[in-house]
Symmetry: D2
Subunit: 389 residues, 4 copies
């Protein structure tokens, strides 16, 4: 990034494949835009749907060459690993339960994987995927996209450098309202698989958005969860998975936190919010207004830091494309994950070391996320008993 | 209220005494302003400090006649109950542990009591006070002042009339930062008694501000707590009482909630916030911007209702003094409690029935608040087990 | 003020009379609350309406002794000046055209005048009133109430002490929407006299609210207007006075500004806003959120200063009653003007010098305001030619 | 756009060239990202700098084939018009004075032009360019990028469909602070050409940002300017062009407006704001929070419409990529202009009619912008006399 006032020395684009993301899928389109924004990728192959016909049609619509459109991810992995100029990386944007089987095929063949969250639909799969990833020379990048926002980078850097003092509190919330009514019953595709345990796993709101909030709280605070006590609930009658969760947390080292995620909080679109309070300063960030970060030093007036504006630190500037006052949004944050991945992939390609400031969510972060979901469910089943993370 | 564009037919002012609130006390001055704003009271007597000399000096400074300045609340109750034109009502603004002994003396003598919160420093006293109040013909008003804000009245009315549908979630938070450091050690008066179990009771932040948030959540939602699970904590080393609490709640009827109160959340002045989400609509209110209420009907754009503005309902207008766009604040909200009390006291004086729209926190609300504090402590001692409210 | 944590040494209350402010008048009630909040006044006499019967009824409703209710202001001035314990000060809250004749009667008899704005309905009267005031030993206080807001005091102090550097721009705006339709035609009292040239003078929105914005811009910036060019307009058909004005300004010393006032800007309740930009820093303040002041030093992150919070200066703290995070509003700001007046009046009473930090709008400020209105009208008649202030 | 939940049927990408935008240029990089986001373009040729060596280096960095990197725009136009698969469109992102000569070369050869604003550095050139464009079969698109924001489309549609009633007021402001000090003297490239009359033309802030605000006010309101009165000023000593302007406006049909643009308003990053008030409703939009639109119907509570959220209209949804609550920013708004252009270009390519909802700023809009700048300067030279637009 850092494109402000410059062209960039460009390496050849990374040849990218995609699993899932065909017609009717929202997140696939987001991944494709994210991959394009900083121009480090070229989409050249796809197994875009579990229905071969739909895969072919979607591939054609996206302008893929017909011999690079596959009926299933396995054939794609096999062939792309063999052909000249086969894909170097693949984006996996299927429902959760397919992440592990798909990722495995590519990692084993040395193809880098960029995978949507949560990592898998259950902890057993997550651990298997961890092992596969550790045994592979290929990279694994999990798109906890909110970690790509510049002001989140700013916040994390502040904590790391001690500007907040000792962290006492990490408050995370992620309310939405799009599942306030049982829209899955009328076949709305986004909600159908997200409320289906077979495709999503044991967690509903906890898996879909709780993991984002949890990941972000840890990313910013640098803390690790020790244990949690949860009250996970389903408000909409007939729904199989949770649509609201209240979670109390204790972090290693003594900090505490609350996490609230909900898909029935009427009036909330995508109101992810993280607040971290330390002995010296506190910070507050809201995803819906992502170009701002509130910073309050104890005993001083609050400051409103703006992305790439006066007061923004180098960690924020590094992942910023345009000047302060010119808002960047969700797609740019997502693109940053792709660009961080590209930096790592290109370093690999050239046999170089990845620069130390390259930062993306890892398979380990993914395992933690799935463990979080299962701990929430377990605690809730035991009526909110504290469960080790 | 409803003074807009009119004078008001005025009854003779209520003769008021005060217990506590001498030199160095913050909340006493607030009560005096609140009593003056709508002009229903006249302060004529006081036992303003437990130190007789200080009481006398403070009384003189306030312009009280010297024979109406008392060394202690008991002598005040005894004499004022006897003399012609003695006080009709008394404001009790002492530290918590004195609320019960003081209130008792006045209630037993038929003098109305306007008492600061929390009701008492422990549940045993609270129950005794409840009994005394029930046996007395005098009124008891608890100054959970935040219930006096017009937009809180608007919110409550919306819930009552079903505009939110069935309530699912009540989220309460009350972060402050003024106790982020051990300022009580340097003798700062406000913090000294609030962190002293002998004067405050078992709860620190839970008693001081948690009770406000809890009362407000119940006031708006009309719900009753069934059980809670709490993680109550003291972050500042050496402090005897809690300065942070995380509480998960289950309300009768199936709604759920979180309550977070903190006095170490750096950057928060007095950030009380209540959010209520139902099946049909959700509302959000923040004490620091009290003239606004966010209302979101499911599937419609959010509305920002302003106090006495277009869209404000009659319950809000009833306790509003000036037009929308002319902000009213904390003191006006507090004054509304005094004015509601005055309506009831004057009705009593005239032998009339209190109008049904008069609304103020009662001794029962106070008992619930103290029970809430003790339940938080009890749950926390049992490592967050669910405890009946 | 500065009541936080203390009682105040109290002088005997100032005996106050009121001219205007009877039944149906909004601003009279505001003045009465403002006079009560800090407890420096006691309302003891009134000529509350130009209709004697209404005056008497209103006086009774306010609890005035019957011999202190007058049929007209002149009899009130004459008698109150003679009797023992007659009024020391009078509040004049009539329509504009009565300010001069009423004020004159009291000033000439040594009774202090607290007068609503604008000073008079025309510049000739304003200059006569200036002369009367200068010849009188009594004080004259103009209730440009917005100058009483703590964050406005903060802002002014910042400019004065050079924190903004050299001022370049003063942007004032005051949009409302309550006159977007011809409500005066249906006899709504507030609008009826405000749109009547006989009672208001030559200015409609310019006089009613433009003068507030202009006064505030000058109060904060410390600048004096040199010349203006105005486009004054009436949007609502059949209305005799302006309901919108655009004004370009040049201040002495080279700063520039824009003033926009409107009573037809749909969606604006009382959106007075002042922004001042200097070579070193800029500030922004909005009346509807008065407890906040944005401060931006060139090249640094913006700060949000809160009333009486960390970062608020002594000038703001001096006129603040309660801690930061406990919002004060319009009535408290108005009360500050009354309290500043009380400080001056009590100093006079005691033969002492008024403390130098006492600050209230003067008769000279009032003359400037009326001159501003007439300059706007004059410029507009000459199609926006620049007119000396 | 409208990619939510779908792939898109894709036409072959438009072959794009670029003039200007080499190393050190900010806006060139923005255009390139904007062209990529929706994947309708492929950058294949460039004359990226007036210095041939720099053009070559920049082209190589961007991965252009060496025979498609040109020393100057004229050779590029000549050759690309001849070769097979030459460019179909060109982006012109040079300083203002080169827009006309460059655009002419391409338009005359039937190559579509996407040109940065303002149209030209003077009105004479603007009129010549208009003529060239009218005589050409190629399209001309001016990147007044702010018209691409979804909530701006929403606002425009509201006005068009009569939801605001008759428009009375259009208030535009565009304050920045990056030129508060003479940074051009130290050679900062962005400021150097913007403050140089030879490259920018007669307007400084008026041309650079005033034209944006003016264009946006007209775009939303649908009004045409009749005359203006301006006070244009240079605050920073030694600067050749204006850095602040105050403009009063009268629109055809009777509406009025103010436009303020400034590059010395300390604390403002890029605070473009448009407010339109009609007889029935008013709207407010701020570029720094572009996903929101305030809508206030007279006599109702304000609504906060969010991009692609409940309440957003079809005109907003049409140019929205992702769901409400997932903020889109400046780059997406810019990309919308490119995508609208692509729709028109592809229609041309296929010999089809452009769909009627395709909307982009035209060469005529550009002429109006340059005329606006010259009218501001002319009015200001005549001390603010009204000048016809």
């Amino acid at each position: 990034m850092a494109i402000e006032g410059s062209t960039e020395k460009r390496e050849a684009r990374i040849r990218l494949g995609m699993v899932g993301g065909g017609s009717g899928a929202f997140i696939g389109a987001v991944h494709r835009i994210a991959a394009r924004i900083d121009d480090h990728y070229e989409l050249v192959a796809g197994a875009l749907s579990s229905t071969p016909e739909k895969s072919r049609q979607s591939g054609a619509e996206l302008g893929l060459a017909s011999d690079r459109i596959y009926d299933d991810f396995r054939s794609m992995a096999i062939r792309e690993a063999k052909i000249k100029n086969g894909i170097e990386a693949v984006s996996i944007v299927t429902p959760n339960h397919m992440h592990y089987p798909a990722a495995k095929e590519f990692l084993r063949r040395g193809i880098h994987v960029i995978c949507d969250k949560p990592l898998t639909s259950n902890l057993a799969d997550a651990k298997k995927l961890l092992k596969v990833a550790q045994e592979s020379d290929a990279l694994f990048i999990l798109t906890h996209n909110y970690t790509g926002y510049p002001m989140i980078r700013h916040a994390r850097e502040m904590v790391k450098s001690g500007e907040l003092g000792e962290i006492r509190l990490v408050q995370m919330e992620y309310p939405q309202d799009w599942l306030a009514e049982p829209i899955e019953e009328s076949g709305q595709k986004q909600s159908a698989w997200r409320t289906d345990p077979k495709q999503s796993g044991a967690g509903g709101s906890t898996g879909d958005i709780g993991t984002h909030a949890y990941n972000l709280g840890c990313f910013v605070s640098g803390l690790e969860l020790e244990e949690l006590a949860a009250d996970v609930h389903t408000f909409v009658p007939g729904r199989a998975l949770d649509d609201n969760a209240h979670v109390m947390m204790r972090f290693k080292g003594g900090a505490k936190g609350i996490l609230w995620c909900s898909q029935v909080a009427t009036g909330n679109e995508n109101a992810l919010k993280v607040r971290v309070y330390g002995t010296k300063a506190g910070i507050e960030w809201s995803q819906q207004d992502p170009n701002y970060l509130w910073v309050a030093e104890l005993g001083k007036a609050k400051q409103l830091i703006t992305r790439n504006g006066a007061g923004a630190n180098a960690a924020a500037g590094r992942v910023s494309r345009i000047p302060g006052g010119h808002p960047e949004g969700y797609l740019e944050g997502f693109a940053t994950i792709y660009t961080e991945a590209a930096r790592a992939i290109i370093a690999k390609r050239k046999g170089e070391k990845v620069e130390p400031d390259v930062l993306y969510p890892s398979v380990q972060d993914g395992v933690k996320g799935v463990a979080f979901v299962e701990a929430c469910i377990a605690s809730s089943k035991r009526n909110g008993a504290w469960v080790k993370a």
